[in-house]
Subunit: 358 residues, 2 copies
Amino acid sequence: MENKTVAMYVAQPIEWTDRGVVMLDQRRLPSEEISHTYTDYREVARAIREMVIRGAPAIGVAAAMGVALGVLHSPATSVDELRAEFPRICDVIAKTRPTAVDLFWALERMKARFAELAAQSDLHKIKQALVAEARQVHLEKKATDEAIGRYGAEFMPREGQVMTQCNAGALATAGIGTALGVIRVAFEQGKKIHVLVPETRPYLQGARLTAWELHRGGIPLTLITDNMVGHFLKTGKVGAVVTGADRIAANGDTANKIGTYQIAVLAKENNVPFYVAAPISTFDLSLPDGSHIPIEERSAAEVTHIQGVRIAPDVPAANPAFDVTPASYIAAIFTERGVAKSPYTQSLRSLASEKASA
Amino acid sequence: MENKTVAMYVAQPIEWTDRGVVMLDQRRLPSEEISHTYTDYREVARAIREMVIRGAPAIGVAAAMGVALGVLHSPATSVDELRAEFPRICDVIAKTRPTAVDLFWALERMKARFAELAAQSDLHKIKQALVAEARQVHLEKKATDEAIGRYGAEFMPREGQVMTQCNAGALATAGIGTALGVIRVAFEQGKKIHVLVPETRPYLQGARLTAWELHRGGIPLTLITDNMVGHFLKTGKVGAVVTGADRIAANGDTANKIGTYQIAVLAKENNVPFYVAAPISTFDLSLPDGSHIPIEERSAAEVTHIQGVRIAPDVPAANPAFDVTPASYIAAIFTERGVAKSPYTQSLRSLASEKASA
């Protein structure tokens, strides 16, 4: 199938510009599209902490750009002064989302680059090189998504419905997205895809973010509630399901947003292939299987309230943020290095070692 | 197991009292428990139309009581005058919820009783007999629920989690409920049941009504979102699922609130028995299977908004109110005449014909 060059809107959760770091305020979506331009790295730190931007890869990009911004506008008049200030900049960024793995990965990368550069004495060149490094981090995230999208698009139906879950889109990755990247590439290739979007309670990332991304991108969609997924997998002629992943164990068991497991079971029951789209950084081969993946339990108030409005009496509520989909329900895993299939213990290790040798 | 006489709160959506017809305003639940006392049948009609009361059996009781109230307070000074007024009272009640089968069943029953009584000339006796008939309708609904509850309770685990869906409780039936009646009887028998309550988007009957009923009745529960049902059926040591039914075809295929089908599939996948609790009036043996059951499609606004607050951009949304669970996923159907098991084509017909001969 030929690649058509269709100019489509892709959400830009973060961009480096001459005016500063521009962030789309995801807290205001979908009702308002408001961007903020930050020229101080402390503003970037606050934006990460207050969830103007969310999604692990996107937070990594924001962290790198925050460090670059801090260095660029540093009052230091010598490399020695900048060397003294640099750890303080990194600390401010580090203290925003303490469990975000991508954030620390990005900080380590910026620190390593600074260590390389600090041997030289040209302050201006150091600043420009760190800005370039942050932009490079962003470009690499984009390239990863594009590769995942190309591998996965081959598995999308030529025509018909595709279901996703939560938001594994541009808003989360700062690229074209993982699961939504696959859908986007397939759509750009001319496949006539219509996306079924579960709203994804309790946080409604499907309704608020995925529906908005697809709508703005011109990709047709239908929003459904989470208890409609079985009905549509049974009656809706769905050609594929594709979701993101938070963590993938060595045997292919995949942790992702709560609700993913039941979609996978219902897909299999109705002979619809269920795919996972995720970068290799999501692999955690130190875990033999999904039973070792810890499940974050969040506040009951997210279930008993919707956008601040109480919807239930004052009763106990459970709120596991993720569930684990056994590998046996997963038809394939799309990564930036290729497609993994069962047996995953072999295919995932093979893809991961390619990365190590690259 | 012995029946313990535990005095438990049972929600009373409607009661006949000396002061008039008392209705609990279900629109205000769970935030407020407000009752209205109606002395004019036109107020009862408006309450049905405006959904102060909902649930097919409860609406049937309200219709019968509305007719009784109209007759009781009729200005007629002779049986002839009452005979002239009676059809107008019935018409006002009939024009409230045009698709509610129980409403028309109740009206036909009150009309038949009136026809029997109108031969006699004592206006006071006619009025009292129609009031007694309406109260009898209510008592029969209660007896049906109690019988379903007793049959079903045997299948509940002695201890552990039970999952339900939507609200098949006292609020819907004006008895102890069907699915929730089963849970209540089992609980009163001393079974240590903990109920998992899916919130049941888009209308949130689980969060608003079932959680409230159980909480008020002292039965322990945990509220979950609809995308958590698979996770808890896999990991939560659930001993049984029990739901209500809107219509049951001759082969046992069962239409019920959207989300029921996927719970049934996930229950089977995890070796949890899935039960349906429903009166024989729910049977529609004229339909060979579930493919003949029409699915009501409701407004997209119920999905894109929650309690008036917009949660999604202005995109298309699907809103099927029901889905169909194939009989192969149903371990048993509890009715007021006994328990139907596979093959349902035989067991349902057998129970239905007992009814006809009763």
